[in-house]
Subunit: 301 residues, 2 copies
């Protein structure tokens, strides 16, 4: 992770969490030696050793803010990351975005085959919900059911998958800015918000605090997407680890195509400020969330 | 449902449950008027007005045996049926079985498109877990988490999806009878067992009783598959509502290709007897489960 502009302390914090989390993910995923071996190997290929892990880091920062047990936060973060990974595997398939490169490696259906990639996505989604059901994340089991419900709502047809469907329908269509925002609030935003709220729910956050964090998540989620669109225009494939310029190639509406690069950058800055403002009441304790908001807006990949 | 050989009382019982359940499913699925409309319409297309609903009926029979609230059993049955429906939508896709007919209608990717079918399957799976999280199915929330875990285990890479992966790997391969059985125990059996156990868990079943019902489910699940293989050989496409003879065409091992029709029929009879025997201790109260076992073995489609 390139964090050149970030404070050294944040770099260490990030590195420590990601190192531990990668080990946890490796243990939570079925071993490649367990039958069906090829499916399990492909699931591990799709999840491990890749990605910025933005959602898990947001979950960890929110969990720390409310004094959560990090072993619980690891499970919440893993469930969100598995949903994210499943969506990437399916989105890359030929019938969707038909992409061959992801996280600097061949996409799952290229490395294995389409049928396996389909089952990998299906099985990663199942595993995400299994983790939230089989590990105790909250002393109150009824609250844990609420956490499961939150992840399902964020992922399903009125969340992430719904955003994907709106995206499909928008190819070659002139979306308005509110329509584009609606798509991204579903497609990317819902899961980013869920990561933050689930992390906080591993600790002792009040409903009012969860609502405040949810607003923070909404802002950084949108900022994440605006920056993605700018990078898709400006960065090259090697830096991104995925195919650059593909949205324009696919005639998909983006913040850049609607606003131009300059106004898109300004929009990201505004969302950045809104996100930081929503953390004011948490004081210095929310420093990690602030640094993550900085990273999301300042990142180069 | 053709139940000519079944007692009239059972026909009425089945009709009443299926009529109520169809209404419940229609209410649990997002309305086609809610955005994204095309995705929601396709989800409804894939689930409603079709299928034998064997898993829900098994769940209802098990729920009745333990005095469960039928509103709770409806949710458990719906979650299982949504998992089943998602697996059919994905299995029918070109990269898997590439089938054009299901339940007498064009398959989802034929009626809509491949990308929509992919998202339909993804979203139906999510909705299955959402239902189990947002409706109260057991007074004890911790037990409800166990129910969620059970459904996830039955559906994932070491359950149904894993059976699908073994199936993929078995095309053109000479499987032994134990290997074929292992595949089907995962691919079809796991979810049938889950339907029965989840139905019973909506009521007051003891762990020993759940284990007994799980054994019943294992027997009828395998019998279901053996009968499926026989029907795939003997029945025609119009009767089945799906493409007949496709397993042989795809060079997939089946009970018929391994044993011949006669021995496969005898195996189904033996599993039928084993299933009935596992219900002995429940006495007359388990009559519906017996009748469903009869239906599964005697069915013509």
């Amino acid at each position: 992770m390139s964090l050149a502009k970030q404070p050294l302390d944040f770099q260490h914090w990030t590195a420590a969490h990601l190192s531990r989390f990668e080990t946890v993910l490796g243990e939570l995923l079925p071993a490649a030696s367990i039958a069906p071996q090829r499916l399990h190997a492909a699931m591990r290929y799709a999840v491990l050793d890749g990605g910025k892990r933005v959602r898990p880091l947001l979950a960890f920062a929110a969990a720390e803010l409310f004094g959560a047990d990090m072993a619980r936060a690891d499970i919440a973060a893993a469930s969100v990351e598995l949903i994210h990974a499943y969506s990437l595997v399916h989105d890359d398939m030929p019938c969707m975005d038909d992409d061959v490169l992801r996280r600097g490696k061949p996409t799952c259906h290229v490395q294995y085959d389409e049928a396996t990639a389909l089952l990998v996505g299906d099985s990663l989604q199942t595993l995400a919900f299994q983790l939230l059901a089989e590990h105790r994340l909250n002393d109150d089991a009824a609250r844990q059911l609420d956490m499961l419900k939150l992840l399902a709502q964020a992922s399903g047809s009125r969340g992430m998958a719904g955003g994907q469907a709106i995206d499909l329908a928008s190819v070659g269509v002139a979306l308005s800015l509110p329509e584009l925002e609606l798509m991204h609030i579903h497609k990317t935003g819902a899961l980013i918000r869920a990561a933050i709220v689930l992390g906080a729910q591993c600790g002792n956050a009040t409903p009012a605090q969860l609502a405040q964090l949810d607003h923070f998540g909404k802002c950084v989620g949108l900022a994440f997407q605006v920056v993605d669109d700018v990078l898709d225009t400006e960065a090259d494939t090697a830096t991104l680890g995925k195919t650059a310029g593909k949205d324009a190639d696919h005639d998909k509406p983006t913040y850049v195509s609607l606003l131009g690069v300059k106004a898109a950058r300004e929009m990201a800055q505004q969302l950045h400020q809104d996100a930081l403002k929503s953390l004011d009441e948490f004081g210095a304790a929310a420093q990690r969330l602030r640094e993550l908001a900085d990273f999301i807006v300042l990142r180069k990949f």
